[in-house]
């Protein structure tokens, strides 16, 4: 049964990225997401949680169950107080990487979500939120 509520998790280590994946899986299942939709949002969460750790130097993940009567979904917000992203459109480009990764984290997470929002200030941090509707 679709629930409401939220949970905030710390992201300070590799193993906490794994915890974020596992909690997103639990919430997505509770929301009644199909297996494919669960896999998509967990994968997006994994990319964004890793970004928080690697680029932001750690931060938080907030998981929110959405249930507005007609629609059920899951909203995830990833926040860090890292260096921020000087050029968001460049960072969103497939294959763009500053750390030798594949450069698919942000762009891939966007493709795996229904809604995507990013706010970043140089020197202050980055906040990315995604929503996937059931």
């Amino acid at each position: 049964m679709a629930a409401s509520g939220s949970e905030t998790l710390p992201i300070r280590s590799d193993s906490e990225v794994v915890t974020v994946r596992q909690r997103v899986r639990t919430w997505a299942a509770q929301q009644g997401f199909s297996l494919v939709d669960q896999t998509k949002i967990i994968t997006a969460a994994s990319e964004l949680a890793r970004n928080v750790l690697v680029h932001g130097g750690g931060g938080t993940a907030r998981i929110e169950a959405l249930n507005n009567g007609s629609r059920v979904g899951l909203k995830l917000t990833f926040e860090d107080q890292g260096p921020g992203i000087p050029d968001i459109s460049l960072a969103m480009r497939d294959g763009y990487t500053t750390r030798g990764g594949l450069g698919l984290g942000l762009s891939g997470a966007k493709r795996l979500s229904n809604e995507f929002d990013i706010v970043s200030k140089v020197g202050e941090g980055t906040c990315v939120s995604i929503t996937r509707w059931k």
Binding site: D14, S15, V17, V18, R21, Q22, R25, L35, V36, Q38, T39, K40, I42, T43, S46, E47, R50, D94, G101, L102, L104, G105, S107, G108, R111, L112
Partner: protein, 131 residues
């Protein structure tokens, strides 16, 4: 430290990933496998990911690295058992795993490796060097 076990069977190395890997564990698997290929002179590596319900870009990169390093060390890699939901998600993520051979299950993956090995043996019998 936590490690993913690597089994040796004939000329091949077998790995079944059964845990939700954190990034450091994925990196050490990559290193361990490369080292084992050299030490055992393995000619093929089979990586079973049927227990993984998520393959993100980091794991995808690790699989690509394992395949590339094995190739340089004259071993074939085949990745088997990808779940349908994982395949759909990987493509949407933008990751098509170029350079990685895949098979539906362990049986088919082993067949691929053995066939590659047999082709190579025939080639050598005809006085040619393996490709």
């Amino acid at each position: 430290m936590e490690r993913i076990p690597i089994l040796k069977l004939d000329d091949f190395l077998l790995v079944t990933i059964q845990v939700d890997m954190h990034d450091q564990l994925a990196m050490s698997l990559q290193d361990d496998l490369t080292e084992r290929v050299v030490r055992t002179h393995a000619r093929g590596v089979l990586v079973d990911i049927s227990a993984l319900d998520v393959v993100d870009s980091f794991i995808g990169r690790m699989l690509g690295n394992i395949a590339a390093m094995s190739r340089v060390l004259d071993a074939e890699t085949v990745v088997v058992g990808m779940r349908p939901a994982v395949a759909i998600t990987l493509v949407e993520l933008g990751l098509s795993l170029p350079g990685i051979r895949t098979a539906l299950n362990v049986d088919k993956g082993m067949l691929l490796l053995r066939q590659a090995r047999a082709r190579e043996a025939r080639g050598l019998n005809h006085g040619r060097l393996g490709q």
